[in-house]
């Protein structure tokens, strides 16, 4: 009877290997709930953002000198077509900051690449209003948009996190 043990054991190992490696059916695609995004297919294919990522579109600059708020110029913008975002800049006391020199940069931290374009920030019509022109986000997922702000003698930076599908 012991003769049968080895073949049986081999068969078992082979079957287990086969089941585990070859025949796994895909589970229904996980629908990771991603905050800050609309639409039902968020999560598919995208690397999830780090837990607790701050997706606020209004935030205080790193040293607290400014408060900036951004919004796409068109709410139904196509992320992969060149488009613009509006920027509202205020000082810590809530007064609009006009005439600032602002540089926009950024990228995808999880893919280790920068922005695909070289955006420009130009003054808007109202005090404290600017337009970030020339943005294009060619991949879905987590993007950083960094702003370096120089208003008179005051310099500060801030980074927005965007989750784009």
């Amino acid at each position: 009877m012991k003769k049968i043990l080895l073949p049986l054991a081999l068969l078992l190992v082979a079957l287990a290997y086969f089941v585990i490696t070859k025949q796994m059916r895909p589970a229904p695609a996980p629908m990771g709930g991603m905050s800050g995004m609309s639409g039902g297919m968020s999560g598919m294919a995208m690397q999830p953002a780090p837990a607790g990522l701050d997706l606020a579109r209004k935030r205080r600059s790193d040293a607290g000198l400014f408060v900036a708020e951004i919004a796409p110029q068109s709410p139904d913008f196509d992320r992969n077509t060149i488009h613009a975002w509006r920027l509202t800049l205020k000082d810590a006391a809530g007064n609009p900051v006009s005439g600032a020199e602002i540089k926009a940069d950024g990228g995808m931290p999880q893919h280790n690449h920068g922005l695909p374009t070289r955006p420009e920030v130009t003054p808007g019509a109202e005090p404290g209003q600017y337009l970030i022109r020339g943005l294009r986000f060619h991949m879905p997922g987590w993007w950083e948009l960094r702003l370096d702000v120089a208003a008179g003698a005051q310099h500060d930076s801030l980074t927005f996190n965007l989750m784009l599908e």
Binding site: L11, P26, A29, G141
Partner: protein, 394 residues
């Protein structure tokens, strides 16, 4: 039977039953979010062809008719044997099935297909042209493709296509008999070009640009065709086999294909270093990094004197990232529509089969230079086969 043997036998039967269960289990039904993703990748989501402000005749049927004749005319080559259609063969999805294009000589890269090409933002594998018509100029003056010159193009237009040309672009100027002359050609061609007056050079450039704008008008009519995948996206769940459906789920999930192969053309119109090998050490082809300065200074770009666009229509060029370092050996994401009929693959036909391509992305080995964007996918052989099956349905 010993007790141990009985236990083993029972376990083996259990494993066998489990295996049978996996085998007989059908794929999970298509969820709403999967259907929505499929629609985003389908021709259903393809917007109308956007206008090309840089080409005033882009949507003129007379220009398309002239362009089709020019596209197929081998007379625009130094040996009279090479046309656009020599490499962009209409019966092969407008490509040639070769690793490297062959005109008068052999090019350094794979011939690209043309279906839906008018929707691209950048042209060639490295995006060194920013419009479809600016692209059409390049091969004509390449020594290994048409090996022709712009002065000869202008003379041939005047001799063979005067009526249709003048109907579109107005009277042709008197052209000097220069022989081969171009600022880009051989030493003798460059010398003849330099001997021309600036006004003559500009007149020839203008005809050369109009020649290419007509070809672009024709190429704008080459549209992507509906495939089985589009029928699946439209709601026909049976259009994909269970294995292809599994491949679709991997495409939009674990394999991350859709990170770049996104939208109804399955391309993000951008440039990526995916670690593709080079036949040369060190690599001679720097991809997008080698094209940035060139397209920025190209007199035939969107902002140049031969473009019909207003400067504000040239957003891609105006806001183009100019630092070459991140774009070392980055090449354009090709559309995957009809991909199964277009072996070999990658920018120089380095990989012969689709399974080879899937294995390339699965392993994610860095290429000879630049920063590779891939990470290993850890796909099983069954998953790889499913992905290949799905790619064949596109």
């Amino acid at each position: 039977m010993t007790r141990g043997a009985k236990i083993l036998l029972a376990l083996a039967l259990l494993a066998g039953a489990g295996w049978l269960f996996w085998q007989m289990r059908g794929p999970a039904p298509v969820s709403d979010s999967e259907r929505a993703m499929a629609r985003r990748l389908s021709l259903i989501s393809l917007p109308p062809l956007p206008p090309d402000p840089s080409n005033a005749v882009a949507d003129d049927p007379r220009a398309a008719a002239l362009g089709e004749a020019l596209f197929n005319d081998t007379g625009f080559s130094s040996n009279g044997a090479v046309a656009c259609a020599t490499c962009h063969q209409p019966d092969k999805q407008f490509q040639d099935g070769l690793p490297l294009g062959r005109g008068l000589g052999t090019t350094a890269r794979r011939t690209m297909p043309l279906a839906g090409v008018a929707r691209d933002a950048w042209f060639f594998w490295d995006g060194r042209a920013d419009s479809l018509w600016a692209q059409a100029l390049g091969p004509v003056e390449s020594a290994v493709e048409h090996d022709f010159t712009r002065a000869e193009v202008a003379r041939r237009i005047a001799a063979e296509y005067r009526a249709p040309y003048e109907a579109l672009f107005g009277p042709l100027p008197d052209l000097p008999e220069t022989g081969p002359a171009s600022p880009l050609g051989s030493e003798s061609a460059r010398a003849r070009w330099a001997a021309l007056a600036p006004a003559q050079q500009q007149a020839i450039n203008r005809i050369f640009a109009n020649f290419a704008k007509s070809i672009a008008a024709y190429e704008r009519t080459i549209a992507p065709q509906e495939t089985r995948f589009d029928r699946f996206a439209a709601g026909d769940a049976g259009a994909l086999s269970p294995e292809e459906l599994r491949g679709f789920r991997l495409f939009v999930g674990k394999a991350h294909c859709v990170n770049c192969h996104n939208g109804p053309r399955m391309s993000d119109d951008f440039f990526h270093n995916t670690g593709v090998k080079s036949p040369h050490t060190p690599p001679t082809d720097h991809g997008r990094a080698g094209a940035l300065a060139r397209v920025a200074s190209d007199p035939f770009n969107c902002l140049g004197p031969y473009s019909d666009a207003a400067p504000e229509d040239c957003a891609e060029l105006r806001y183009m990232a100019r630092d070459p370092a991140p774009f070392e050996r980055a090449f354009k994401t090709p559309s995957l529509r009809g991909v199964a009929g277009r072996a070999p693959y990658m920018h120089a036909g380095q990989i012969r089969t689709l399974s080879g391509v899937v294995e390339h992305y699965n392993r994610a080995i860095p290429g000879p230079s630049g920063h590779m964007e891939l990470s290993p996918l850890n796909l099983t052989s069954g998953e790889k086969a499913a992905l290949v099956a799905f790619l064949k349905a596109l």
